[in-house]
């Protein structure tokens, strides 16, 4: 037995839910049933999943089926967040030569011919539960099976899905008890008692029926059809045919939705009835045209009278063809309606996946969430209680739980930070120096081996899209760093430039291969001296190769935190060993790691920008207050002409430093001057060492200058010079 709306319904082997329910004498569905998955009438809810077609659902013991409400929509299933992983829909990717969709006569023939040609064939047929739901460029076919979803990659798709029968449009066509011709034949063969049958058009085979003469006018009845009314167009005389079931044989059209998804793509073709022509029905005069969206013939006339005469416009203005049946019922009639108005009919629309309703789980099957990268120190961070956060495509420690401790370890003692995510690219070759001179707006040639320089990266418009360091190793080899988020693009951009300029350089991205740990704080030198050779530590903006705790490192001295800092670049396979050695050797120095929450605070106190956070897509070096990083007295570089042009214009906005008492305003807080909008905050923090809030903000020019005092969220803030902390830079050079 199956349970249909609380009624036990017996079934036989091979039955669908539709067949079993109708054989039991129930007829809960209105409209003309097709029994082939085309119409939107036999939709039911199964196990909380709605919009399931009863004609495509095998009856099974204990199956609980609910009909959709006659008005409105089925309710959404209740949501549970638990065990979504366990209930994930299975999926598989398959590669073959030919996919044949539909296993009727034409489909079987196409499959056999392909196999004879030695091609590997995957056959799909909705009637046996292997239902193609989408055809994509490639070609690629997505199908639903009882075991989950299939993505099939192939060279050829043969659409052999047969034809769809034309439905009747007239008053009363939403009554129950109406069947298409093929549906009636199939249901009768399965033992469904159709009672007194009246046929319209071509009559069903194998069923005793009374043919209705004349043109169909309307169906009559209370809830279900009881009379078919036709008219003799020659005499105007109507005739009424009493019945229990009306069977409609008005012709058919190609079931070509899947083929139309391919939109003429090579490798997709239709065969058999799916490639045939539509038996265009008579022009509809009254009644429901699109049952999915409730569009009537009067609605079509209404939009027509308002000037919507093209098929696509009528579809969009009425929503005809956008419901569960995707136009299978209405489009033949809408085309007849448009043609009757004297309009030239365009080819059928490009269809959009999916061809039938699927669940969210089925849509998501085989797709993955974004893969955040982890550094080699990920487990070390977790062991220290870090809260991990996504940043620049990586999972990074946001905090280790005590931001105060992390902060003062940097400002007063020594701290370490995992900066492995920084972009790191090696460039070598006879043209390396000249190449970098063209890449960067800074001068590269004066750099000596062992020296480093901060650089901006500009695009052709002179806008800053990255920043980093250039470290010279020798005459022809350099290490470049970039922001973490920009690393992937930066490397590709370098390659593109080198190839375009035909420069003889070799480029190797080391971001994934090298770990990097920043040792920072006034006692950072003390810690490193315990683990390496103190005499070899580089001076500010210098770098050298040395061993630290037995790990080969490139030690780069620079500072993002405002304190003495040494970045230890090393093979990522040694990261954990180095990290642990630093923590163990610095235990009596109270060494403690800091996360990016505190790093944001530290860098902001120094006024260091974060490209992509403080910069905008149209930020020039001058707008960022970084004009000093551009040398116009050197040769050509990317963005040079744009910088020269924009530098002659008045400065319209500027990234400025602001400070205020009290809590910091959030990023995006609005600056106002005399009540007018004057800009917004890009970064802000409460400075523990300064005892006030500091921030960077975009400020619009006003009367050719920039205001010294602004209001942010109604509180006064002052414009001040950056850096906020250690403006002379004495601490980083100590």
């Amino acid at each position: 037995m199956i349970d249909f709306d609380g009624t036990p319904v017996p079934f036989e082997e091979g039955d669908t839910v539709l067949t079993a329910v109708l054989r039991a004498g129930l007829w809960p569905w209105r409209g003309c049933l097709c029994a082939e998955g085309d119409c939107p009438y036999c939709l039911v809810t199964l196990g909380g999943v709605s919009y399931v077609r009863a004609c495509r659902t095998p009856a099974a013991e204990g199956l609980r089926v609910e009909s959709h409400p006659s008005d409105g929509y089925p309710s959404l299933p209740s949501s549970t967040r638990a065990s979504t992983r366990d209930s994930a829909v299975g999926f598989e990717m398959i590669h073959c030569d030919t996919v044949v969709i539909g296993q009727g006569r034409s489909g079987r023939k196409a499959a056999a011919e392909a196999e004879e040609r030695g091609r590997s064939v995957v056959a799909l047929d909705a009637r046996v539960g292997r239902e193609a739901v989408g055809v994509y460029a490639g070609p690629e076919v997505v199908a639903r099976t009882p075991d989950g979803m299939l993505r099939i990659f192939c060279e050829e798709v043969v659409v052999a899905t047969g034809s769809v029968e034309v439905q009747p449009v007239c008053p009363g066509n939403q009554l129950a008890g109406i069947l298409t011709r093929r549906a009636a034949e199939g249901l009768a063969a399965s033992g469904v008692d159709l009672g007194r049958v009246v046929s319209v058009g071509a009559g069903p085979d194998g069923i005793h029926h009374e043919p209705a003469r004349g043109r169909l006018v309307r169906f009559e009845g209370e809830g279900s059809v009881q009379r078919v009314v036709t008219v003799d167009d020659n005499t105007g005389v109507e005739r009424t045919y009493p019945c229990d079931t009306a069977v409609i044989g008005l012709g058919s059209g190609p079931r070509d939705t899947l083929a139309r998804m391919a939109h003429g793509s090579p490798g997709v073709r239709s065969v058999g009835s799916a490639a045939g022509d539509l038996d265009r029905p008579p022009v509809p005069e009254a009644g429901v045209v699109c049952p999915c969206s409730g569009v009537t013939v009067d609605d079509l006339r209404s939009v027509w009278d308002r000037g919507f005469h093209e098929l696509e416009l009528i579809k969009r203005s009425t929503l005809a063809g956008t419901g569960p049946c995707q136009g299978a019922v209405c489009m033949p009639h809408v085309r007849s309606f448009v043609a009757a108005g004297g309009q030239e009919l365009p080819p059928s629309f490009t269809a959009r996946p999916v061809v039938t309703q699927i669940t969210m789980g089925e849509a998501a099957a085989g797709w993955y969430h974004h893969a955040d990268r982890r550094t080699a120190l990920h487990e070390e961070h977790l062991a220290l209680g870090a809260f991990m956060e996504r940043s620049g495509g990586w999972l990074r420690p946001w905090t280790y739980g005590d931001a105060d401790r992390e902060y003062w370890a940097v400002r007063a003692g020594v701290s370490i930070c995992d900066v492995s995510t920084l972009g790191k690219v090696l460039v070598s070759g006879p043209d390396a120096e000249g190449f970098l001179e063209r890449i960067y707006p800074a001068t590269i040639a004066p750099l000596r081996p062992g020296q480093a320089k901060y650089v901006l990266v500009l695009d052709e418009r002179g806008y800053v899209f990255d920043d980093g360091l250039v470290c010279r190793e020798d005459a022809s080899r350099f290490l470049l760093t970039s922001t973490s988020a920009g690393a992937g693009y930066f490397e590709m951009w370098l390659r593109d430039c080198a190839e375009g300029w035909e420069m003889d350089v070799r480029i190797l991205d080391r971001t994934a291969s090298w770990g990097a740990i920043n040792v920072t704080g006034p006692r950072s030198g003390d810690l490193l001296s315990r683990l390496g050779a103190p005499d070899l530590l580089p001076s500010f903006m210098g770098h050298t190769d040395m061993e630290v705790a037995g790990v080969a490192c490139r030690v780069m001295r620079m500072s993002f935190t405002g304190e003495i800092s040494y970045e230890l670049h090393h093979q990522a396979s040694r990261s954990r060993e180095l990290w642990r050695a630093l923590l163990e050797s610095g235990a009596d120095l109270d060494v403690w790691p800091h996360g990016i929450e505190v790093l944001e605070e530290l860098r902001l106190e120094k006024g260091h920008i974060l490209v992509g956070v403080d910069s905008l897509p149209d930020s020039t070096p001058r707008r960022l207050g970084h004009g000093w990083a551009v040398r116009m007295d050197k040769g050509d570089f990317v963005g040079r002409r744009a910088v020269a042009r924009t530098s002659r214009m008045d400065l319209d906005r500027l990234l400025v430093g602001l400070e205020m008492d009290g809590a910091p305003p959030p990023r995006g807080a609005i600056l106002r001057v005399e009540g007018a909008y004057a800009g917004f905050v890009t970064s802000s923090t409460w400075s523990r060492v300064l005892g006030r809030s500091v921030m960077l903000a975009w400020m619009n020019a006003r009367d050719g200058g920039f205001a010294d005092d602004v209001l942010i969220d109604g509180r006064p803030a002052r414009r001040v010079a950056v850096p906020f902390y250690d403006p002379e830079g004495l601490r980083v050079r100590a």
Binding site: M93, R506, L508, A512, S513
Partner: protein, 134 residues
């Protein structure tokens, strides 16, 4: 055992040099030369000493990948999570995505060596249903 429990960080040598110079690099005994690009060569296992006829060659230890060896009986399982069709020739090398993760795959008669960026290893292990890392 046909399916590995997890990926392990790979030790190799990476050489970026003029393509002609890379053509002359000899494979280590029992090892692999993996040509990632005309100017980019991965040597497994790492070489003690490398002679490359390019004075500007970048020769670096490579530890940015994790690797796992899959028996050929695992081929169908891997193919089922791949949008591209694996090569049938052996040996062969291909690069693409496996379960949505970028990989490099060395196809040998006995099985497949899968290389994945170390930073994404955990995702691939999870998506291939591999065992928990000890």
């Amino acid at each position: 055992m046909s399916a590995p429990d997890y990926f392990e960080r790979l030790e190799a040598t990476r050489i970026v040099a003029a393509p002609g110079a890379l053509d002359e690099v000899e494979s280590p005994d029992g090892g692999h030369l993996v040509r990632l690009a005309p100017d980019d060569l991965l040597v497994i296992p790492p070489l003690e000493r490398v002679d490359v006829a390019d004075p500007y060659a970048i020769i670096e230890p490579e530890t940015g990948f994790s690797a796992a060896w899959f028996d050929r009986s695992e081929l169908a399982r891997l193919q089922a999570v791949s949008t591209w069709e694996f090569p049938r020739r052996r040996p062969d090398f291909a690069q693409g995505h496996l379960a949505g993760i970028p990989v490099k795959m060395l196809f040998e008669e006995g099985g497949i060596l899968v290389l994945v960026p170390a930073a994404l290893t955990h995702h691939l292990e999870e998506r291939l249903g591999m065992g928990e890392r000890q």
